[in-house]
Point group: C2
Chain length 241, copies 2
């Protein structure tokens, strides 16, 4: 695997309490696949300063890119920006360009620019802003780390402006073959195929339908011709699909 790698760090007590079913990681996983970036890890952690600092350091060091989601809003438990600044040894303060964006937005809506809202203009030194076309309060990037809001519409808009700037590898292609046989019956022939095609990856995903066992067989790889060849072989080995 020579594709660049990424990790996703989801920050928020509400995910760990089971209150919110997290969807940003699932959505971004699909985007990264299409962009040829290998997702190496998803991690969900609470709104805790030391935990965020540790995870940002570890995951940004180990991967080409780190994406974070959550904790950059206006409330007292929005501590991601300060923790990311700490992780990279930067100072953080209200920055004029971010402050001006927010001031204009609240003025246009005749809303007060409170001290809570001012928190959203706190940006680590040396960071670049990430545009927020939905609700203005920006995300930011620092070194290889992209810090984005957890609200799904804002997260997706921020990723859309970030992803084209990252260098991906060859997109990962896949073929899916559905057979009505139990996973344990396809295991041996599938392992033989994995040995025949060592540069492709073979996965099997069991399901049940009307009381019968079935398995989705998935072949993944970056070489389209090789994938097509393996897929043709797979279909002859499992003609019953």
């Amino acid at each position: 695997m020579t594709n660049p790698t990424a990790a996703i760090l989801i920050i928020g007590d509400e995910i760990l309490s089971g209150r919110t079913r997290e969807g940003n990681a699932y959505w971004l996983a699909g985007e990264l696949l299409a962009a040829g970036i290998t997702l190496a890890e998803i991690r969900v952690i609470p709104d805790d300063h030391a935990t965020i600092v540790g995870a940002v350091r570890e995951l940004s060091a180990r991967n080409d890119t780190l994406f974070t989601s959550g904790g950059i809003g206006p409330t007292h438990d929005d501590i991601t920006a300060d923790a990311v600044a700490d992780a990279f040894g930067r100072n953080i303060d209200v920055r004029e360009d971010a402050r001006a964006l927010l001031a204009a937005y609240y003025a246009s809506r005749e809303l007060e620019f409170t001290s809570a809202r001012m928190r959203m203009a706190r940006i680590p030194d040396g960071a670049a802003l990430i545009e927020n076309p939905v609700s203005v309060a920006p995300g930011f990037s620092i070194e290889n780390t992209y810090v984005m809001a957890g609200v799904p519409s804002v997260f997706q808009a921020m990723v859309a402006s970030v992803l084209p700037t990252l260098t991906g590898g060859a997109p990962l292609l896949s073929e899916n073959w559905r057979v009505m046989r139990a996973e344990s019956e396809v295991a041996d022939p599938l392992r033989e195929m994995a040995e025949t095609y060592p540069t492709l990856s073979f996965g099997s995903y069991p399901f049940t339908m009307k009381g019968e066992f079935g398995t989705n067989l998935v072949i993944r790889g970056t070489d389209a011709a090789l994938l097509a060849d393996a897929y043709a072989t797979l279909k002859t080995r499992f003609p019953e699909a």
Copy 2:
């Protein structure tokens, strides 16, 4: 927080590729909350031996309990059992009681007990089996780590047999108050309440409805009387809900 802690480790390439939307962690998060166990981290990693070994060691050392999901089926990419054995420095081999369970199951269905199926009887030395009422192939526990299947119905059945044996703390209670105000407008009063009630936790979760901004305010704590008092105060501070 004196409640015991847990981590969830999800193992599987199919989650990181965006192919499958993981649901076991979300479901178990709710079960742990009800049991009074604090979920400290969810981590999703690929089917890679060294990565699994490292994550199992780290998360089992740092938490009272570790739950894993995925990678204990019959195919070549089901490597969780071997990796968990390595993480705890144990040998692993086919174990007679697990083998007998599977042999009886396949015999009753007149199916061949293949070498692939035999893989599912590989259990680390000293582990205890976790019953699988759905498809027989057992999970296992070793020290504080519970190794379970990724298929949701099997995962849930295994958790149901494990969870009552774990010692939880006081269940975390919560109250939810929905206000049609932007999160940035509730931030200051909410921070004041968090200062007034330092043993409770206060969260705010923004949403939009018909173009209007709203926020769910959530108070969490283990002291029912204190929670009721704080909830009454919250409702007087935000009477517009």
